[in-house]
Amino acid sequence: MGDNTLKILVVEDDPKTAAYLQKGLTENGYSVDISHDGADALELAKGKSYDLFIFDVMLPFHSGFELLKILRSLEIYTLTIFLTAKDRLEDRVCGLDLGADAYLVKPFSFSELIAVIRSLFRRRMGADHRVHSSDQLEACDIKIDIVKHQVRRSGQLLDLTPLEFKLLTFLARREGEVLSRTLILEHIWDINFDCSTNVVDVHIRRLRAKVDEPFETPLIHTVRGMGYVLRSENSNPQST
């Protein structure tokens, strides 16, 4: 996706948050403009074409909601993500009613934000480029046959339980992306809150015993404090 750089406008009045967003997003290959208040943001958004807006809700001059309302009335239908510390249901509904595409509640993890941005762009482009066909998936030297429920690594058939298969498929689809435990719980078990036990770790450990241990190079890596990622050892941790 990095070939033609995607442009993002971040409007966030807290300078520290704005700075880390700019740094993180730039490192992920996006071109980022920062604005600290609603009035300034409006000028920027009207003058330049962006691929994505990331708005804080509480902003000086215009709130994030107002900003989006004005921009939509000007027929600017850029993808929009709200970041906010308010997570009352009404706020969420209000944001999405205005036509926001996603709503992230602070404190969110940065990897979560990246995952949301990627999925929005993927959705806009219509398909995930890494899925070669709907029933075949390849990541590193792993080949997954979605239909037959078969996994081969370096040509060798792996004997996985349905749960392990689901977990590996999820990691493989997001190859190179650090997936938080929260995200894994949500995708595999449909649990939308953090369990306090190490339940995800244990499942990953089992998967590793089958996917990594029989082979020379491990593919499933732990990123401490963040989650798990499937990648071959030598690749750049932040590459897409």
């Binding site: 009352r88 993890s109 749960l163 306090s196 036990t197 244990v202 089992r206 990123v223 401490r224 404090g225």
Partner: protein
């Protein structure tokens, strides 16, 4: 009230009238029974003698008798029947009406010249030679009349007195009753609800106030306990926040003192991120709990098949237990349904399983941990489902049971483990949102069992 009194008076009055009239009749009949046998013989001399000398003097003076012979002349009278004012009642000659009328012992009320009232009865009879005799008996009704009039007046007076006196006196009485109440109200105003339990002294008030004062003191005690809980809750939150914050600060400071290797940085940042994650979890759980307790969580209640839900829980936690040779068993029949919000029910169940995992491990190292999930219908109409989660750990001491569902309560068995003491509070909150129930069952020999009770029928809410 006054109306009731009036009705009561009237009833008493009517009863008195009936009683007195019936007494009069009795008197007359007594008299007739005494005289009638002599009339049957028909000897005028004997009859004169009867009412004159033979007439019993002790017989009540208020009974008057006159006897008329076949010619209609009065031939004998009791001594009291000669009085002038009685000439209307006892004329010298028989009134033809008496002969024609065949009235026997029928009472008529007659007012005499001097306005005295008599109950009078006229009896017609025949002697052996078929001659007609007429006997007229009068009973002085006047004394009774006066009594009745007096009683009636008394009742009427009492009635009006009541009408006037009740409102007048009630003011005074109310004032008397209100005095301690006013005192009570003043005292309550002066009490401040807060940390100190504000209590009223029952001794200072009439004994009728005991219930009120007990309730007030109970309420005051509850309020001060709630106040205490709130205070300690805030303190606990601050404490919970302080620990990870302190750890964060320390780690970052140490890291920052001198240059480190990349691996060291990576390791420390990982650790810092873990702490931050913990903080976020605490805040999320707290907000979730508070919002739930204030019923601000939207609940879309649907029919949920328990079997797949419980099996997926077992699959999720089985690997953890297997790592310590433990097991998780699911005893849930197929086709059991409850009405609940799926995400919330799942969260409640997960919290209980995690609670069992964290605190329900057996102390005896020869025993391996075992968690049993089960679900079965309960209640008379089987309109509820009981879901139980049982572990084989050390159990919960009975004196801790009342507190385990409180926010941030951590029992002795939870010391030294990860957690905020919010899990069970969230379970209770979720059950409250469903009008359900959570309880700890009394443990038999070991372990503890949490039971959730949910409705298996649609609730009209």
């Amino acid at each position: 009230m006054a109306c009731l009194f009036l009705i009561f008076c009237s009833l008493v009055y009517i009863a008195l009238v009936i009683k007195i009239d019936s007494e009069d009749i009795e008197l007359i009949e007594e008299k007739v029974a005494f005289v009638l046998p002599y009339l049957k013989i028909g000897d005028p001399v004997e009859i004169k003698h009867l009412l004159g000398e033979r007439y019993p003097q002790d017989l009540r003076k208020r009974v008057y008798v006159t006897i008329y012979d076949r010619n209609g002349h009065s031939i004998a009278r009791t001594f009291n029947a000669y009085a002038n004012e009685l000439s209307d009642i006892f004329p010298e000659a028989v009134s033809p009406k008496w002969i024609l009328d065949d009235h026997h012992a029928k009472l008529e009320r007659i007012r005499s010249d001097n306005l005295r009232v008599f109950n009078v009865s006229t009896i017609k009879t025949r002697d052996q030679s078929n001659n007609i005799w007429i006997m007229r008996v009068a009973v002085d009704h006047d004394t009774e009349e006066r009594i009745l009039a007096t009683v009636g007046a008394a009742f009427l007076g009492m009635f009006f007195l009541a009408i006037i006196a009740v409102p007048a006196s009630s003011g005074v009485i109310t004032n008397l009753i209100m005095r301690p109440l006013r005192h009570l109200s003043q005292e309550i105003e002066q009490l401040t609800l807060g940390r100190e339990t504000a209590a009223l002294e029952a001794k200072l008030y009439p004994k009728e106030f005991l219930g009120l004062i007990t309730s007030f003191n109970q309420m005051s005690q509850n309020a001060s306990q709630a106040f205490d809980r709130l205070e300690s809750f805030s303190a606990d939150i601050a404490h919970e926040l302080r620990n990870p914050l302190n750890s964060l600060r320390g780690q970052l400071e140490v890291l920052n003192v001198r240059p480190r290797s990349i691996d060291e940085y990576r390791d420390s940042f990982g650790s810092v991120l873990e702490d931050v994650h913990r903080l976020c979890q605490l805040v999320d759980s707290l907000l979730f709990l508070l919002r739930g307790e204030r019923k601000l969580i939207r609940t879309a209640i649907i029919k949920i098949d328990l079997f797949p839900l419980m099996m997926s829980l077992r699959d999720l936690y089985e690997p953890i237990l297997q790592e310590t040779n433990g097991q998780i068993i699911c005893r849930c029949k197929q086709d059991l349904f409850v009405y609940a919000e799926p995400q919330l029910l799942q969260r409640a169940l997960i919290n209980l399983v995690e609670n069992a995992l964290k605190y329900g491990r057996p102390k005896d190292p020869s025993l391996s941990p075992k968690i049993v999930l089960s679900a079965e219908p309960m209640g008379d109409a089987a309109n509820h489902i009981a879901i139980t989660i049982t572990d084989n750990g050390p159990g919960i001491s009975p004196n801790e049971v009342p507190y385990i569902f409180d926010r941030l309560f951590r029992s002795d068995r939870a010391r030294g483990t990860h957690g905020f003491g919010l899990g069970l509070a969230i379970v209770r909150m979720i059950m409250d949102l469903h009008d359900g129930h959570v309880e700890v069952l009394e443990s038999k020999e070991y372990g503890c069992t949490f039971r959730l009770i949910l409705s298996s029928v649609v609730q009209s809410s």
